[in-house]
């Protein structure tokens, strides 16, 4: 039975899920950092930060699983992608450092709270932008020769990758704003709803632009999406995206708490599925497939045993942690 299992494919799906979990989970807490400068200093910012303080660390662990998992499962892909995206990755890490320490430091030093508020926002902003650029640079393709990255140091910097970078900032901003709608009360909630409306429209516009742009980047992508009968299989993706968009705006209009956030999550999941449809079966687009990058089956199987046992446990206690900290955070109030 084990022999019949296509382990690289199983692991590609698992890793894709880990990356998706990262994007939507850290997405909303990075998003809180992105909308942070629009909140009033002091209590509004305290409240916004308190909505994510107990969970951000767990959210960011999915990024470590993404990086560590890529190293473990597709070492060749990891060895090619990291040098190719050297600068955006380093800048992303530096951004994450700034915002990560701000969670603790801003409470330690009230006189310099303005500085750590700035570090939190700027770190979130840079991390989101660099993640978006990383995504764009991957989609547009990476030059490989002799098991190594063979391109130049600025290959990642293109109009396309800058657009995906901007899109991720705005998309995370949407997640952050709708998260605040879910977790706070007026006046923060009302403010977050206004932001979510603007970010929602911008996100949808950018999803449309990037989707079309991607298709024209490569004839393979074009065939995936527009050739008959493939178009019948992929058609649900744009249709559900339209549905999620409708749900987002009606949820905001009816002042629901959870519906806007869930709709924004759905937009991310659908965009991610769309990305998967374009890229499969490549892990380094256009050059390395998941099978040629995969570690040997002995490694994959050994890790699969752990993943099958531990991932459900992780999901269970992460969900428990969210359950413990459920409900609204009132302004000027926190968790304890």
């Amino acid at each position: 039975m084990i022999d019949a299992l296509d382990l690289p494919l199983v692991w590609a799906l698992l890793l894709a899920l880990a990356v998706l979990a990262y994007v939507i989970l850290d997405g909303f807490d990075l998003g809180v950092g992105i909308v942070y400068p629009t909140l009033a200093p002091g209590r509004e910012r305290d409240t916004a930060m308190n909505t994510v303080a107990p969970v951000w660390d767990g959210n960011e662990t999915w990024l470590v699983l993404g990086g560590g998992g890529l190293f473990a499962v597709f070492p060749l892909a990891y060895a090619i992608i990291m040098p190719a995206l050297y600068m955006p990755i380093i800048l992303m890490l530096l951004g994450l450092i700034f915002r990560g320490v701000s969670f603790e430091f801003r409470w330690r030093d009230p006189r310099h709270q303005w500085f750590w508020d700035g570090a939190f926002a700027a770190g979130s902003f840079v991390a989101a932008f660099m993640q978006g650029i990383t995504l764009g640079a991957l989609v547009q393709g990476i030059e490989v020769a002799n098991r190594q990255y063979a391109g130049g140091w600025w290959d990642w910097l293109t109009p396309f990758s800058l657009t995906t970078g901007a899109a991720l900032i705005i998309g995370y901003g949407l997640l952050g704003a709708t998260w605040l709608v879910l977790k706070t009360e007026d006046p923060i909630k009302a403010h977050a709803e206004r932001l979510a409306r603007i970010a929602g429209m911008a996100t949808l516009a950018l999803i449309a632009v990037i989707s079309l742009w991607t298709v024209f980047l490569d004839p393979v992508f074009m065939a995936r999406w527009f050739a008959y009968p493939a178009i019948l299989y992929v058609l649900p993706v744009p249709l559900f995206t339209a549905l999620a968009a409708w749900s987002l705006f009606t949820g905001l209009a009816r002042r629901c708490d959870a519906q806007p956030f869930l709709s924004a999550l759905a937009l991310f999941v659908l965009s991610f599925i769309g990305l998967g449809i374009s890229l499969y079966p490549y892990i380094v687009p256009h050059s390395v497939t998941i099978w040629s990058a995969a570690a040997p089956d002995t490694s994959l199987l050994f890790m699969l045993v752990g993943a099958v046992i531990l991932l459900p446990l992780i999901l269970a206690y992460s969900a428990y942690s969210y359950w413990v900290f459920r409900g609204k955070i009132r302004e000027g109030e926190g968790y304890h």
């Binding site: 070492p75 600068m87 603790e104």
Partner: protein
């Protein structure tokens, strides 16, 4: 030339980022266990002082842990950005234990840290204690897996090499429990406990010197001194066993540690000297005859191989290893001496009387960190020129990244780390300078869940100000 420069920058970058990183786990591994013990004692005895001390160190734990997390994320990407050839070759073997570290340790720590820091009123005492235990367990699992990875790089086992030049796992048991792993794990865990004990003891001594009646400070000092008295001698024993294991598997490292260039029977123990790699001699050696052979071979006339037994391009740089090893051993011996001293004070009933012991402990507060760094420098520089000992040279493991790119990222890391972790350390010192005070609010059972206050840390500070005990 260009490539050699890029590799040097990559080396410095890895050494710099990992050295900064290891400081925080070395502290939080020990502190998490200490917090679990304190909370357990509090649940068991119901004595307020245990939860006071718990909350005091929880604030410090939160700041240290945040710095450990963010500096750790950098490490998980650094293998790829600067050492991509290494990543490609060893990923099939080392990826799995690292993936297990993420799955079994990082998620456990992160998942329960929120509850540990913010959840006492929401989950109640018992579940909160369970969360503290999970965080402590997570720090242990993390140490287990990452030390297994590091040990495999020192003493590789259970692998074969495929056509693409990748290391392929053959026997997972041998990979994980490779020959140096049990020794390294024991040595590092004891080091983490000792580091924490000396921080706790040093901070307690600082406050006892100001107020010998501070009950929380007395408790901290007593517990820390028990740890020092019991663990420091154990650590010396563990270190000796680890050294013998290194002699068996990495003889060049031991030769550099000992400062032996010549192979000989009945070798002396060199206490101090100045290694000269050019001339291949140890100058100004202060030595004890025959003791070197006795320690390394447990035979007064046993043969000890010197560095000249290997070609020059197989040897590590001697001076760094030689000095770092002496710093580590020196601190270990001082720690054991202070542990013995504290037993004597305790026996005389003078443990809490401010005196030389307390002043010494204040000076020794950061000693554990220095010893940990010196120990890691010894073992990491000592395995050079290899990254996978005997199999893959460090120089052949680097990314095809140009020197200016590595130099730029190195500069950015140095600036950001010095700034942020410098400020973070300052905040930690500020926290430690505040005396622990009684009556920090415990969980109020039976009351409805309250969502007042800001964060427990800030709330604890305000409490301190109300008590008038905050340092001005």
């Amino acid at each position: 030339m260009e490539t050699a420069l890029a590799i040097d920058f990559a080396r410095i970058q890895f050494a710099f980022t990992v050295a900064f990183h290891i400081i925080f786990p070395a502290f939080t591994i020990g502190l998490a266990s200490y917090l679990a013990v304190l909370e357990g004692l509090w649940l068991w005895t119901g004595r307020q002082v245990y939860i006071d001390v718990y909350r005091y160190w929880l604030k410090i734990f939160a700041v240290s842990f945040a710095m450990g997390v963010v500096s750790g994320i950098v490490m998980s990407y650094q293998f790829g950005t600067n050492w991509s050839v290494f990543a490609d070759k060893v990923g099939p073997v080392l990826g799995a234990p690292m993936a297990y570290e993420v799955l079994s340790a990082f998620f456990l720590e992160a998942g329960f840290l929120g509850i540990m820091l913010f959840g006492m009123k929401r989950v109640g005492r018992t579940l909160h204690f369970a969360a503290t235990l999970m965080v402590a367990l997570g720090t242990f699992f993390s140490a287990f897996w990452i030390l297994s990875v590091n040990s495999w790089m020192q003493t590789p086992a259970g692998y074969s090499i495929n056509d693409a030049g990748q290391f392929i796992p053959v026997d997972w048991w041998q990979v994980i429990f490779n020959p140096s792993f049990p020794y390294r794990l024991a040595h590092m865990l004891l080091a983490a406990y000792l580091t924490t004990a000396f921080v706790v003891g040093g901070v307690a001594a600082f406050h006892l010197l100001r107020d010998r009646t501070n009950e929380a400070a007395r408790l901290m000092f007593s517990m820390a001194m028990w740890m020092a008295a019991l663990v420091a001698p154990l650590q010396i024993g563990a270190g000796d066993l680890h050294g013998l294991n290194t002699l068996e598997h990495q003889p060049t490292k031991v030769a550099a540690m000992e400062g032996h260039y010549e192979s000989r029977r009945g070798a002396p123990l060199i206490l101090f000297g100045v290694p000269d790699d050019e001339a291949e001699v140890l100058r100004y050696a202060l030595e004890i005859p025959y003791l070197g052979s006795f320690i390394l071979t447990h035979d007064w006339l046993g043969e000890v191989r010197g560095l000249k037994a290997w070609p020059r391009d197989e040897r590590p740089p001697v001076a760094i290893v030689f000095y770092a090893f002496r710093v580590m051993v020196g601190i270990g011996l001082i720690m054991a001496a202070i542990g013995a001293w504290s037993l004597w004070s305790r026996y005389r009933g003078r443990l809490f009387e401010p005196g030389a012991l307390h002043r010494s402990m204040v000076w020794m507060t950061p000693a554990g960190f220095v010893a940990v760094l010196a120990g890691w420098i010894t073992t990491e520089v000592g395995r050079q020129p290899y990254t996978i000992y005997g199999l893959l040279r460090t120089a052949d493991a680097a990314s095809p990244v140009a020197a200016p790119a590595v130099a730029a990222s190195l500069t950015a890391f140095v600036i950001v780390y010095c700034l942020l972790f410098g400020i973070g350390t300052y905040y930690l010192v500020v926290l430690m300078r505040q005396p622990p005070h009684p009556g920090e609010p415990g969980p109020e059972e039976g009351k409805p869940i309250r969502t007042a206050g800001i964060t427990p840390i800030a709330a604890a500070d305000r409490q301190a100000e109300r008590n008038g005990s905050a340092t001005p």
